[in-house]
Symmetry: C2
Subunit: 345 residues, 2 copies
């Protein structure tokens, strides 16, 4: 019997940021430290590295001695090719018994030195872009517990951030909640998850079902979204995730100033109304009571003076709480959820 | 530069049906002979085989001498395990220079004897369940030519048959048309295609785009559907195929007596109206003018006396031509297409 499982990462982490001097390339590393500081034991930096996560610098030896269990590659290599110095660190970590965890475009298992080192120590090589084996086909069976899914008018529009902020706000409100990661950065933050866009097409909804299993009736899974039902490249991923998550509630993520699909500028973004309607029309197939509970808006490109008006316009259009989670947090959406789902069923 | 390509099979074919005595297990073989007799040179049968495709019996030697280019496995092995006698035939065929083509659950490339034989002769081993490499992400760019996609209220509801029958009817009407295969049997019939449900989730619509490239303005691609937007397991495949095909027209495939999703009986089938509405709502994202042009109904379980009434009820509900393609053919749908798309744009 093959176990059905998600990708799993063992904390605590040592995060490799190499010799990076541009924090934007280290977004993953900063995200982990921001959202899950308790998982991070230290950072590995080469001399001259100016990026600083604000956690202790550690060598591989220090980390192994301190009980660190995984080396995470928390930066994207500039230009895409991985420097030899990084490979050397990964190999040393694997030899010292640390799992090596990354989402690079080069496969760890294609690096003989690292493979041999991992074999010698029993360390695991974890590629967070590789789905777990033995994924099931979605069965559509109703699961216990509640689920809220982030959806978007586009890709790269704040779904992961919103999920993490909403999860945090739910916990602050004393609710039982778990963040469920569907992409590589989210998986590193949550220390588990499934890279939903990398699964074979037949298993998308099955993977989503596996990711948010039966739970307490008053527990909420806060599911990171992927793609968009309106995206000409990635809509299949989004529909499978919607059907498999069978969400009770969803939050639409939007960018106040984006009017075209990023990178696919021959497509305009849908309106919030269109976006909500299509998600309800499609989503009710596996959850007849699906409803939208809020809108998360990136207002970073909006003048400060105009921001409140902008959010008010979206609120008027949808009749829902509209927040920029980075500025306002997600408490208004949590409040809405508690209004709409008052019973601990 | 890596070529973007579909799975391709070289005719003429020798079809292995082994020692089968139940024609239902040889559906693929019969389908190829029914729809593409010109591709089939012969059949390979063991002594005692009672199934007969009505084409010449041939040995591997005969086939090689006659210029046959591919051995196709046209039967599903009873119980799932492939008899040794079949492996021996495949190995002999590969050694004789015939490509070996199958969609078995065992991989040809895991059979050392067959791999060695193929290497010795230069024959190809083609698994029609394995997508071509280097699939692109869908770009959503408008392509020239027309497309009609089969969709369904469920899986296994006649989408392939309808596509083949509609393609045939279009050709009989003197129209330019190509059948585009998205599943393994369809690929064997068309001698090319992409097994769309086996591609990685991010590339579903890109694969669909590749499958129906730019063409003459008055040319129709007749695209085999997969899954259903309403299927709890396979909806992601269907939406990616819908968006990537960007169909001008679609045909809904339905079963007159099926009321529940086959194998997922906790789900009822959608009504034809619901099915049409959701496909228009989702499909207009990549083709704003998408429209339904007909309904293909399997009436095999309906009393002969009731059949006309049954089709008439569906026609009344939808305002569209409703046919059982096995009995009525698809001429009424072709007529509707020519009414709705009168201009050779």
């Amino acid at each position: 019997m093959n176990e059905l499982t998600t990708v799993k990462i063992n904390p605590p982490y040592l995060i490799l940021i190499g010799s990076e001097d541009d924090a934007t390339y280290a977004k993953t590393a900063f995200g982990i430290v921001q959202w899950r500081p308790e998982l991070v034991a230290g950072q590995f930096r080469f001399p001259g590295c100016t990026v600083d996560l604000g956690v202790p610098d550690m060598s591989i030896e220090d980390a192994a001695a301190a009980g660190v269990r995984s080396l995470l590659i928390g930066v994207a290599p500039v230009g895409g090719s991985v420097p030899d110095t990084w490979w050397a660190v990964m190999e040393a970590a694997a030899r010292a018994g640390l799992d090596v965890v990354c989402g690079l475009h080069v496969k760890l298992t294609d690096q003989p030195g690292i493979v041999a080192a991992a074999e010698s120590s029993g360390a695991r090589l974890v590629d967070v872009r590789v789905p777990p084996p033995n994924l099931p086909v979605g069965n559509g069976r109703k699961r216990s517990g509640r689920r809220v899914l982030m959806v978007g008018t586009d890709c790269a529009i704040g779904k992961k951030y919103t999920a993490l902020a909403l999860h945090q706000a739910m916990q602050e409100a004393g609710m039982k909640a778990t963040f469920r990661a569907t992409g590589q950065t989210g998986i590193m933050i949550a220390s588990q998850g499934i890279p939903i866009d990398s699964v074979v097409a037949d298993f998308i909804s099955g993977a989503a079902e596996l990711l948010s299993p039966d739970n307490d009736p008053d527990h909420w899974d806060v599911v990171e979204g992927q793609g968009s039902l309106f995206h000409p490249g990635y809509s299949g991923v989004s529909l499978g995730l919607l059907h498999g998550s069978q969400p009770d509630a969803f939050v639409v993520c939007h960018d106040a100033t984006r009017t075209r699909v990023a990178g696919w500028e021959h497509f305009s973004l849908p309106s919030l109304t269109e976006c909500i309607e299509l998600h309800v029309a499609a989503g009710r197939r596996t959850n007849p009571d699906i409803q939208c509970v809020g809108v998360s808006v990136n207002t970073s490109q909006v003048d400060a003076a105009e921001r409140e008006n902008c959010l008010q316009r979206f609120a008027d259009e949808t009749g829902l709480p509209c927040v920029d989670p980075l500025i306002d947090g997600c408490a208004p959406i949590v409040e809405r959820i508690n209004q709409q789902f008052p019973e601990k069923t």
